[in-house]
Every structure is written in C-alpha cells, then in structure tokens.
Assembly symmetry: none
Homo-oligomer: 200 residues x 4
DNA sequence: GATGAATGAGATTTCATTCAT
DNA sequence: AATGAATGAAATCTCATTCAT
C-alpha cells in the first residue's frame, strides 16, 4: 500500500541513491565519505544506514538497479524480430546514449563498477549482457549475415569493449561528446563492428 | 656508475615494485597496505619511503615504467615499414601477449590504472598509445587499405577498447586464457578489427 | 482505577520489562539494543520511551521491582519468631530458589546489576538485604546460638557472597542445577554457614 | 635479546596495561574510551593497536597476566606440605591482600571481569582457582580435618564467593578497608570458613 | 640504508533518543 | 498510544606517513 509514509520512505532512499551517484562520479567511491552522500542528499548520515547496510551496499544497489534496467532494454532488443545487424545497432545505441542521459551514472559504472572488486558477486549480471551480444552474433552467423569463422564469444567481448571504451573516453573527457559527436561515435562504432562481423 | 651499493639500491627498489605489482594484483590498490608490499618484498615498511614518496607514487611508478616499455614497442611497430594492417596486427599481438608475460602486471594496469583517478596526470602517456593506433589507421586510409569514411580517432578507441576488454576478460577469469585460447583471441581481434576497417 | 485502558497500558509496560529481562539475560545490557527489547516485546521501539525514560531506566526498574519483592520476603523471614539459624536457612532458600523460578532474572541480577555502575544509586536497597542478614546474625549471637566474636557485618557479607556465588555458578553454567543439585546446594550452603557461625 | 628497543617496547606495553587498569577502574570498561587509556599512558591512541588487537584484548590481557600470577601463588600454597586448614588460610590471605596491593586491579577484576561476558573464554583459568580450593577441601576431608559430608565443589564456591564478596565490599566502598579492618576481615573469613568446614 | 615504534587524521558504523504522523 | 523514520554524537579501529635509533 502506498501510504504517505511509504512514499516518503521511497523518496529518501531514491534521493540517497541519486546523491551517491553524483558524489561517486565527482570524487570516486574511495574518495567519497558516507557523510558526503548524506549531505548531498540533505539528510543525516545515519539515515543512509536505515536504507543500506554499508557504503558498499549503496554502490551495489546503484549497479543492480541501473544495470537491471539496461539489461531489460538489451533483452527487448534481443527479443525483437529484427535481423542481427539491426539488433547490434540497437545495442550500441542503447549503450552509448546512456551517456547523454546520465553522465554521472555512466561515470560511476565505468570507473567504479565495471572492473571493480566491490561487485565481483554481480559479475553474473554483467555476463548476461555479454551473453546477449553473443547470441545476437550467433544469430547473425546463422542468418548468414556474419562471418561464421569468428568465435562469437570473443567477438561479443571485442564489440562490447569498443563501446565501453567510447564511454570511457567521454567519462575521462578525452573524446568530444556534444550531440553531433555522439551521433558520429554511434555511426563509427556500428560501421566498424558490423564491417568486422559481416560476411562478404 | 654501477657501484655495488647502487646495484643493491636498485635491487631493493625493484623488489618493492615487483612486490607491489603482486600485492596490488591480489588485493587491489585500496585493499593493499604499504606494510603488505614491504612484507611481500621482505623489507621493513619504512624503507618503502626511501624509494617512493607515497603509496600512490608506487602505483604511478609501476605504470610509468611499464607503460613506457609498452609504448616503446608500439613505436617500433609504428616506425616499421609494414603496411597498416600488419602494424595493427603487431599492436594487437604486443598488447594481448603481455597477459601471458605478466598477468599480475596486466591485472594492475587494467583494474587499478586504466580508469583510475590516481593517474590522471599520466593520461598523456596513455593518449600516446591511442595516437599511435590512430596514426596507423590514418596511414591505412591513405594507403587505401582502410575505409576513409571512418573517423580514425574513434576507430582507434574502438579497436583499443576491444583489445583491453579481452585482457579484462582474462583478468576477471571470465575468458579462457591457455595458449590456444590466447592465439584464438589474437586472431579474432585482428580479423574483427581489420574486417571492420578494411576498404572493400 | 483499573480501566481497560490502564490495564492495557500496564500490560505493555510489563511485556517490555519481561522482554528486557530475557534480552539482557541473553546478550547483556551493553550487548542489547533498545530495538531488541521492543522486538522481543512485539512493539515498536519508540514505544519503550513512553514507559521508560531510557534504556538504563529499564534496567533500574527491573532491579527495583524485583529486588523489592525479594526484600519483602527477606523481611518476612526476619520478622518471624524463629531462631536465627532457621531464619538464615530461610534466607538461603529464598535466594537460591529464585534461580529455578526465573533464571533470566537471576542472570540479569548477577551479571548486570550486582556490581554494576548503572545502579549505584540503588545501592541502599542492596545494603538493606545485607543489613537483614546482619541483624539475623546479631540475633543469633544474642541468643547464644552464634559465636559472638565474629563481626556480624563481615559475616553477613561472607554468607551472602557464598550464596551469590552459587547463583553465579548456575548463571555461568558451571555448577549443576537440576532439582537434586539445587537441594544439595541449599543444604551445603546452610551447613557451611551455620557450621561457621555456630557457637560450640 | 634485550636491546634498548625491546626494553622500550615492553615498557610502553606495560604502561598501556597499567593505564588501562586505572582507567577501567575509574570509569568501567564500557565507560572508558581507547583514547582515555592512551592519554593516561601518555601515548597516541593508535599505539594501543600496535600492542593489542582491540580494547577487549586489553582487558583480556589484564586478566590473563594478573590472574596467572595469582594462580601461581595459589598453586604454591596447594603444593606446600601444610595441613588443609592452613592452606585455606593461605588462599584467603593471598586473595584478600590483593586489595591493598592494587585496588584498581581488584576493582577491574571484580567489576569488569569476574562475571563479564568479555572473558567467557578465560573461564577455564578461573575454574582452575576453584579447583585448587576444592582439592584443598578434599585434602582436609581425607585428613579428617573437614567434615566429609560436605560436597567439596560446592564448598569451594561458597568459600571463594565469600572472599570475593569482601573484595566487592571494598571495591564498592561499602566495607571499611584500613589495615586494621583488612586484618579483621581476614580473621573473620578464615574463622567462618574453617568453622563451617571443620569436623567436630 | 634499514627498522619498526609511534603518530593522529579520518572514516565507517552503531544506536539511544526524538518526534512527526 | 503507537510507529518507525530521522538524527547525530560517539567510538573503535585503520593505516599512510614520519622519524629516532
């Protein structure tokens, strides 16, 4: 039941998570104090422990909730009845457009989560994204669209890694990211990946 | 001059650096204490401060010395008189073969350095690697080997990111890495990248 | 007046106190959280503050109410017209039988109250018990039953301490406490004390 | 080897332990902060963790080192070739004289250790003291000095408890403790215990 | 150079208590 | 009365760094 109180509760929790994203993006996980997050959220730091068991649990939650959402969208693409190349294009667009949508979140995901030791247990959830790309590659090979001699698993890592590196370039401020540039990055990524995968 | 003393000195320094690589690989930068490094090196922890100004300086040194070596080899490839596709192949092989050569070092580079906040100042050195790949791509375009409509800078990030992701897969224990598998990864990476870049 | 409301009120208060005894016995005063007590009582922890001003006040209340009851029974023994040795026997039985009656309460009294700093102000109430024993000893000396050269105050502490140590042995699980054993402890305590006090 | 450094080291450790005894005696274990102990010892609080793994470990060490010493003396009495009554007298004197010798230490032992949950694991060491008293009682029974119908285990708890209660009275400031009073307490305790144990 | 005792800033976490609902 | 969200003081413990020996 959505009482006024349960709504308020959900609200504070959400505010803490969003504050944590901003703070982690700005100063990094290790450079952020629990008190910084609370201050950013406008609450006492003790409250954070009402909603999360630890600072690490906050990071884990950020990952879980947002990665889950991303996976949903990946799954939707996979489940569509498009040909494999269009699906891959869809994946690339979803991933790259997260940047404009929420740069802080992408920053945290790229810098604090992707290769972190804090979320080793969540590795399964990350693997799922690779598995989707891999299945799309396999589908493309079956359709005769993609070269069948390529190992689809390795290919999925290579393609995904390329996309993630673009995000990293934006996060590090090393690649231009205005609207135009984002579109060009999308195009380039898609052309390169599909060109590499495509059967002649 | 290499006196016995200066050699001994160099020796301890090196032992500390190598110990740090092992310890950082095992427990991460933040999970490692200065005392752990010293213990691994078999010296008292105070000694570390004779050779390095701080724990961070140790990480920075690891990066600098090893990245410099890698860059040397990249430059050698770039400077050779091979066609662009063979140069790119060379780069890929150098990068991927570092894994078998020194997994701990790769682990530290991938997990603690690549996207870290600790080495923002060293970003220039990383950029240099991208620049080399980018120039090779440009060379390929001039030679008519590679498609000229691709943005060479973005392409270099995409290609490099794919390679780094393979290393990450190995670091995380998610991709197989016995000799055979490494060779296949090389082949797949090269085929995919060149396939994507190649002009028809 | 005992309205339905005042009864309900009394009921919650009592439930909290009984819950506190169980929780303190299990985890100790410092190891117990106010929330644990409330949970054990099946109420929200905020409610505890309607009935008690603090966590310490809960402990104090446990002591006061139960020690008062014990004192009543001691006073009844003292006020009887039995000879001193039988009175002392009565005291010992009352004290030792509290264990079978309410082990949790005894545990709290022995571990959290008897030597605690939280109840320094209640020291007078404890002293009263010693005074009763002391007066019984003095009575015995006057009656010629007990040796008159013994300091009755010290004797009362020694006797009382012996009894409390038996309780402690039970609390710590170091002395057997099935029915038979309790009876034997009573007998031994009485024989030893009276043997020591008795004039030849 | 006793280098100047190892002596200094032992010195600081000892100073910390002695400071802890004073601070615990004054404010209780829970009322004392690690910083208070360090301040009393005249060192930085971090140093405490050089020598002890935790605040609790400090208390444990206080107990262990001092209780061990006491046990030694108990064992010496037990091992002597005196009759049982004189041995018991010896035990009583040792125990009661600890008060004048180191009131703070006795305070800590009585209030923070004896019935505490912090040192449950050390219970074996405490049991050893009871076992010694018990064996003396048994010896007395065999020698025909003590009444054989008394359970020697219970008797040892009763006797020991009486002595501990005298210490408690001193700790709580409820019993007089000048030289004269201590001597009288000794006499009374011994007369009462031996009177109770003695065969007619 | 080498050691490791000593320092102390700092960070997370706990939890009694308050108070708006 | 009853709830439990919110507060924030407080305390333990960690560990990079310094420095006397």
């Amino acid at each position: 039941m959505l009482t006024a109180r349960s709504i308020a509760r959900e609200d504070k929790r959400r505010r803490l998570l969003e504050a944590a994203v901003r703070v982690f993006a700005r100063a990094g996980y290790h450079g952020s104090r629990v008190g910084d997050i609370a201050e950013e959220a406008g609450v006492a730091h003790g409250l954070l422990y009402h909603y999360f068991s630890s600072k690490e649990e906050v990071l884990r939650t950020i990952f879980r909730e947002n990665w889950g959402e991303l996976l949903e969208r990946f799954r939707a693409v996979e489940g569509s009845d498009e040909p494999a190349d269009e699906k891959l294009e869809g994946i690339a667009k979803i991933l790259l457009r997260t940047w404009r949508n929420d740069p802080d979140l992408v920053t945290v995901m790229v810098r604090e989560v992707a290769r972190s030791r804090h979320l080793q247990e969540e590795v399964g959830a990350v693997r799922e994204a690779f598995a989707i790309v891999q299945r799309i590659v396999e589908q493309g090979q079956e359709e005769g669209l993609f070269r069948s001699e390529l190992d689809p698993r390795l290919a999925s890592w290579l393609v995904y890694g390329g996309l993630e590196e673009i995000l990293t370039g934006w996060v590090l401020g090393q690649l231009p990211d205005e609207g135009e540039a984002v579109a060009r990055a999308e195009q380039t990524a898609i052309q390169l990946a599909l060109g590499g995968l495509r059967a002649d």
